[in-house]
Symmetry: C2
Subunit: 307 residues, 2 copies
């Protein structure tokens, strides 16, 4: 699974960070996690093709998470897109998107069906499993868990050759989990996939919180994820504001990562007040005191998540 | 009058050009001409304070001209703005803005009154005179003419001293156009403003077309403007498309400038297809063949317009 951090800022843009949007790609499928204003321009600096985006997962209806969507959709349409783009979000997303479509003199050339999820509900996008949980924010908000389906184990070419399976169609059958029969110099032989395949490969799993205060529910929801992308609007000095406005400090986000036993933590949605003079390094340091395996991606950074 | 070209591209962003927005400042007053997606981030790279913007002149309701407005307004509000921001546009602007305000979970902290203009109608913003005319586009669209009021002539300090007017309050009276009386060593003397002021200074006048095909009406409307900011979506090779979609070639825009006898022409809203490898220079050359005093501003460029 590959993540491209298109925008990593919170509230409003700074020179350093665009409002938040993250492209998640698994095989041929790409999802967007939120879509702040300017996302379509950020995409120009990435290796993501906008036409390949299958769905946008909207965490909540604040402008810094959704105002890039109308422009992105219009540009896709002007460039001839015909494939539908799914929009997945909390209750209210359909009404919001309907309003967004009526702002401009514009007729979209493809469908943009909306799936509204209640916290805890899930859906599937091109084989990627999407789960949700309630985030603790000032408006209805969801966090998302996206995981790849498990794949069959690695095909062991040497074992297959030693068993006398000829290269070609039969290798494919075994890779797809089917038992085959062989006629080896007159002797009938049955070969099971387990004889040539390694253990099933677990799919990669990431959690994206959107805007939230830390919560026991978020700890449970993030349990053992390969990557937790958690908001970190503030540093320690604004802990009170974080509680008041439904946000997290970097340290509190690291606490969630620690208790959820995730493999890695990526902090996003930092307040523009930290955008100057590497002010974000203070937040990173505070988080690392709690959970050392923490990163704070810049706009444009890519991250390969493997197991 | 000072212009800052925040965005100079058409249709959708390129790496080189953001969708169109131009900040116009005269004294303490700033207006925005259109507000494409990403304008609030472009403002960060300019010397314009978003809080000083008094009004946004919307030419028409296509996304590349208006989708930056919701985010800009939200950021102003989150930063404590209380002064109203006027939105001026063609019929349909009020309904569009109402829809835009309902997209997000957000309550604006200041008023955003909308003034809809029929082609030919005008308004005034903090002493700046705004006129409109119909543009020839695929949807209802206005061009705008903004001019400063004429100011009194320059105060001639040497003349005032020679006439015996003491420095201070009486200088101010004369500058404001009032006749004064003096008692010069027992002799009563009447001094008129015309004795110490130069000729009235004409205000600067600019025209911004938004999206349009060239038209006789636009020539009349632009007559003798100090600066004509005209769209130039295409080069010569797309003349047919320009006609079909209600746009202009650079050469046709220069033709309007020539016939209107403007002092300078600035081309904006170039198609993203010209954004690579200085492709826009071709358009500039085509325009200059017709009207030599043509410029093609880059994003971030500033232009002082004087008479």
């Amino acid at each position: 699974m590959k993540l491209r951090f298109l925008g990593t800022g919170g509230s409003w843009p700074s020179k350093r960070r665009n409002p938040v949007s993250i492209a998640l790609s698994s095989g041929p499928t790409t999802l967007l996690l939120d879509c702040g204003e300017g996302t379509q321009r950020q995409l120009l600096y990435s290796s993501v093709s906008p036409m390949r985006i299958r769905a946008v997962l909207v965490t909540h209806l604040h402008g810094d998470h959704i105002l890039g969507l109308p422009g992105l959709v219009q540009t896709m349409s002007l460039n001839g897109r015909e494939d539908e783009l799914r929009i997945i979000g909390p209750h209210g997303t359909a009404r919001s998107w309907e309003a967004a479509l009526s702002v401009c003199a514009f007729k979209c050339g493809f469908d943009t069906p909306v799936t509204e999820l209640s916290p805890g509900e899930g859906t599937e996008v091109d084989g990627l499993i999407v789960g949700s949980c309630q985030a603790s924010h000032s408006v209805p908000a969801l966090a998302y868990r996206v995981h790849e389906k498990d794949r069959p184990g690695r095909f062991d070419v040497e074992f297959a050759r030693a068993l006398g399976v000829p290269e070609g169609r039969l290798w494919g059958e075994l890779q797809r989990g089917r038992t085959i029969e062989l006629d080896l110099e007159g002797t009938r032989s049955v070969i099971a996939p387990s004889q040539v395949l390694g253990p099933p490969r677990k799919g990669v799993c990431i959690v994206y919180t959107g805007d939230t205060s830390p919560s026991p529910e978020m700890v449970r929801f993030s349990s053992e994820a390969d990557l937790l992308i958690h908001e970190a609007t503030y540093g320690d000095e604004y802990e009170a504001q974080a509680v008041e406005f439904g946000h997290s400090t970097a340290r509190a986000a690291a606490g969630v990562a620690l208790r959820a036993a995730v493999r890695q933590l990526a902090l996003v949605h930092t307040s523009p007040r930290y955008s100057k003079d590497d002010g974000h390094l203070k937040l990173l340091a505070e988080a690392k005191e709690v959970f050392p395996h923490t990163i704070m991606p810049e706009d444009g950074e890519e991250l390969e998540v493997i197991r």
